[in-house]
């Protein structure tokens, strides 16, 4: 097992490229509209889960309100696209900015809260946002939802066919992974991990905890807003039911299931949990009971998540060190 992991760690680039190649080939192997759609949704959830992992996994702040930012992004994009016919470059960026701004306004006063208090605040925020979406008829059309959101188009080329959406989300996923990786590897990332391990020690080391937390919270929300914009234009119809606390909780489950603070873990967690209900569809009523049982069983067998305890960077270093030793 350890050897395989070491090998995986050493060949990170090769593996990433293989996975990417497989992702690119996927729609050619499984061309049905349904499988492409499921793969596209997986992609979208990967963006969402990776962004939540930034704040919850790497920084250790439990947020149960991620769907709020997802929803804010979706509504921003949908309103700008339907009312003002704005181009998707603009709607996507606006979605990210508005979601980030909301996170800034929420995070600045509340991110000093600890553990479960923060969980409750984010959960409450998610409910507030959903209620605004349901009640502000003039802006969001409330429970009627926004219909006929135009597909993204640029310079005369319109993303329309399922396969085009799929490649679009693959590109977004790659960008998100790169971004998250860069943040984690940077000085900021080290600070975040320090915060998640011991806040007081981190503060003593001169890390401005609140600034770091707010910064990463805003980035995380902006990414969720991005995913929301994609969702709105992909589905062409949104209503408030997609952005409730149950959605927040299911994203949260995905990152715990896959393993906190692990990019490959998150990806696998998302794929497994998105496809599980589909695979169990034949069981009809019993599928959610089984889904629940699988969650319980998983936490008994591997409470740290699928790839939770595996730190590829550390393994790689260890393996490299060993190799270097052998060479000498």
């Amino acid at each position: 097992m350890n050897r395989i992991l070491a090998c995986l760690a050493r060949n990170q680039l090769l593996i990433s490229l293989t996975v990417l190649a497989l992702a690119l080939l996927f729609p050619l192997v499984f061309p049905s509209q349904y499988s492409i759609r499921m793969a596209t949704l997986c992609g979208m959830y990967i963006v969402l889960a990776l962004s939540l992992n930034l704040i919850t996994g790497y920084t250790g702040q439990v947020s149960l309100g991620h769907a709020a930012f997802f929803g804010i992004g979706a509504y921003t994009a949908a309103i700008l696209a339907t009312r003002f016919g704005l181009n998707f470059l603009f709607t996507f960026i606006a979605a990210a900015i508005v979601a980030g701004l909301a996170a800034f306004l929420l995070g600045l006063p509340t991110l000093k809260l600890k553990g479960h208090y923060l969980a409750m605040v984010t959960l409450g925020f998610c409910e507030i946002v959903r209620l605004v979406e349901m009640n502000w008829m003039g802006l969001t059309r409330g429970p009627l939802g926004i219909l006929n959101i135009p597909p993204p188009s640029l310079w005369g080329f319109t993303i329309d066919a399922p396969i085009e959406y799929y490649y679009f989300i693959v590109a977004l996923v790659v960008l998100t992974i790169k971004l998250v990786q860069n943040i984690v590897d940077s000085r900021v990332g080290k600070g975040l991990i320090a915060i998640s391990e011991d806040e007081i020690a981190a503060e003593a080391m001169g890390i401005n905890i609140l600034r770091y937390k707010v910064m990463v919270f805003v980035i995380s929300a902006a990414l969720a807003g991005f995913a929301g914009a994609f969702y709105a234009q992909y589905m062409s119809y949104i209503d408030p039911t997609s952005f409730g606390t149950d959605q927040s909780i299911s994203i949260f489950i995905m990152i715990i299931f896959g393993g906190l603070a692990s990019i490959p873990g998150t990806i696998i967690g998302v794929i497994v949990l998105t496809l599980l209900p589909e695979v169990l569809r034949g069981l009809m009523d019993f599928r959610l009971i089984i889904y629940g049982l699988i969650l319980i069983a998983m936490m008994l067998v591997k409470p740290e998540g699928l790839l939770g305890n595996i730190n590829f960077t550390r393994i790689k270093k260890a393996a490299d060190g060993k190799k270097a030793g052998e060479l000498k």
Binding site: I4, C7, I15, S32, P143, L147, Y237, G282, M284
Partner: protein
């Protein structure tokens, strides 16, 4: 050398991942499909609706009615000797799920028509997928005014709320005069639209609307703050728009807070369960409906046409429960589609055209003619609750 075996392990794990992905492919669909009938030797239809979750009782009733008709057709030798096959999907009353299912359905080119969904949200969300792929989507119950406008492959057997709520308001003004009306409605696509149209029509006809309160389904069971607001407005008429269980609770709590007014409700309330939940508080309630009702208590005072009676009896025999209006609409949906296939064969466009031409069809849910917008007009049937039963409404 070692590296090679490691790479093998890697490859195996990738394959495993891929096979999980592949689990959603057409391969797993085969498991769901019914056995028998060679390829091309059956007409395939799809049904989707809420078969689990909070609206499941409606979805199951409609599915049962659709299956009843299809069994009947197949027992009689199918359509020109070709059996009909139904694929069933559960959308859990979640629009996202219904889009997933829509994609699954259109991925199978053999499926000729889809019947679904129960709620307007799910039907509306799925509509663009069907329209784009030119597969007729036939909803037995979607009453949102936008639904028929999602495209010319959309059909609904419900009278859309634009017509229905207008008729409700006209009935109220006609029966009770231009009085003070207060409403309480469910914050859903149905509730919001129904309330808007009703309130506007009341105002147009000279009535006063003292206030409209809204609630979110599933969020709370305590409506007393809303009822206290309404009580302060002293309305003459109190219109409750909600599911039967919500309405039963609203009425019970309103009576507990001594809100004195004529209580009225709509067709969703015409169920035995409503009477059980509301108990004595339901007395005197007036219910307006555009959906047919077959409650045994209501039937004592009302005569059904021969084919409707046959449907009600067959349904009871097959499922040991009373048929309701929605199941009658589900049954009619299936019959109309079978008729259309008989005329057009396995041709989606032909089926669409045949369906659109339906005129004066004697369905079990009433006389059906599609308007240009592929919706139907129905006349209201009104009831009053008296001694714990629904009796046909007569002016007092």
């Amino acid at each position: 050398m070692k590296n090679k075996s490691k790479m093998l392990g890697l490859l195996i794990s990738i394959c495993l991942m891929l096979s999980v992905l592949a689990g959603c492919g057409p391969a797993s669909e085969a498991n769901n499909g019914q056995a028998g009938s060679d390829k091309g030797k059956s007409y395939k239809l799809a049904f989707f609706g809420p078969l689990s979750g909070d609206a499941m009782q409606y979805g199951v009733a409609i599915k049962n009615a659709v299956e009843l008709e299809i069994r009947k057709v197949n027992d009689a030798g199918g359509i020109n000797g070709v059996p009909v096959e139904l694929k069933v999907f559960d959308d859990k009353n979640d629009p996202k799920e219904s889009v997933n299912i829509a994609n699954k359905i259109v991925s199978d080119p053999e499926i000729l028509v889809a019947i679904g969904s129960f709620t307007s949200s799910c039907s509306l969300a799925a509509a663009p997928v069907f329209q784009k792929n030119q597969v007729p989507l036939f909803s037995p119950t979607a009453s949102h005014p936008d639904f028929p406008f999602a495209g010319d492959y959309m059909f609904t057997l419900a009278m859309t709320q634009k017509l229905e709520s207008k008729k409700f308001a006209e009935f109220v003004i006609e029966q009770f005069g231009p009085k003070k009306v207060a409403t309480i409605y469910q914050n859903t696509d149905y509730g919001v639209t129904a309330n808007d149209i009703f309130v506007n029509r009341i105002k147009e006809l000279g009535g006063t609307v003292t206030g409209s309160e809204q609630f979110i389904s599933g969020q709370t069971k305590d409506y007393s703050p809303l009822i206290s607001n309404i009580k302060a407005q002293q309305p003459d008429i109190f219109y409750v728009i909600g599911s039967y269980s919500e309405a039963a609770q609203i009425i019970q709590q309103a009576k507990a807070l001594d809100l004195k007014a004529q209580y009225i409700g709509n067709g969703q309330l015409i169920r035995e369960d409503f009477l059980k939940l509301a108990g004595a508080n339901g007395e005197g309630l007036v219910v307006m409906s555009s959906i047919p009702v077959f409650l045994s208590s209501a039937l004592e005072h009302q005569k059904l046409s021969a084919n409707t009676e046959a449907f009600v009896n067959d349904f009871k025999k097959a499922y040991q429960v009373e048929a309701d209006g929605f199941s009658a609409m589900g049954y009619d949906s299936a019959s109309l589609i079978v008729d259309a296939i008989q005329k057009a064969g396995a041709d989606k466009k032909g089926i669409r055209d045949a369906l659109a031409q339906t005129k004066n069809y004697a369905g079990v849910s009433g006389n059906l003619s599609f308007m240009d917008t592929r919706e139907v007009e129905r006349s209201l049937i009104n009831y009053r609750v008296k001694d714990g039963t629904f009796i046909p409404y007569v002016r007092e």
